[in-house]
């Protein structure tokens, strides 16, 4: 571990508040947590790959689900898509994510959106582990 990274890890251990902030930032913008911790190459790859995957999902006419207490599957899909962070909230106002069930790629688009969100959750967990010095 490089001295700069060791310092960052020690700082995160001593400041639980900043650990929460790190996880929130990592969730909101994919890859930011890794960049924060000095793992810039990994962070920039996530920063490009996940929003691109999310955008492809929208371009494939995938639908962004909202939470619906009467339908557990829709709620689970919304929870998975929410994992992508701020993009989930930004796509709607710009007219994306309505989905077109008649489109051939509708189901593929939904899969891209769900998996992009779930991958970002994994990235947040990885950033948390790095901050605690487990990796």
């Amino acid at each position: 571990m490089s001295p700069a990274r060791a310092t960052a890890v020690e700082k995160e251990k001593s400041q639980p508040g900043s650990l929460v902030l790190l996880c929130l930032a990592s969730w909101a913008i994919p890859g930011i947590g890794h960049i924060w911790l000095g793992r810039r190459a990994k962070g920039f790859i996530f920063l490009i790959a996940l929003p691109l995957m999310f955008a492809i999902g929208l371009a494939l006419q995938g639908r962004l689900f909202s939470f619906d207490s009467s339908d557990i599957l829709t709620t689970l899909e919304a929870a998975a898509q929410l994992g992508i962070g701020l993009l989930y909230f930004l796509a709607g106002p710009f007219g994306f994510g309505k989905g077109d069930v008649r489109a051939v790629t509708y189901e593929y688009g939904i899969s891209f959106l769900i998996v992009a969100g779930l991958l970002n959750v994994l990235i947040v967990i990885d950033a948390y582990d790095v901050a605690l010095g487990r990796k």
Partner: protein, 58 residues
């Protein structure tokens, strides 16, 4: 982008990329794991699609 194979390849590429970068630290290891994972996704997709081929659509 209506080709199922192309969409599957794009999906496999992104998932392999993120998993390999998460799991490994050196570019060489990442490229190896990512390549293996991508090939596995594509091969599994093609095998499953051929296994489903005899089944009727309706």
């Amino acid at each position: 982008m209506h080709s199922h194979v192309v969409v599957m390849a794009i999906f496999a590429f992104f998932v392999s990329l993120v998993f390999s970068v998460l799991a490994k630290d050196t570019p060489r290891e990442q490229a190896r794991l990512g390549g293996l994972m991508f090939a596995g996704f594509m091969l599994a997709g093609l095998v499953v699609s051929w296994l489903m081929y005899p089944f009727p659509l309706r």
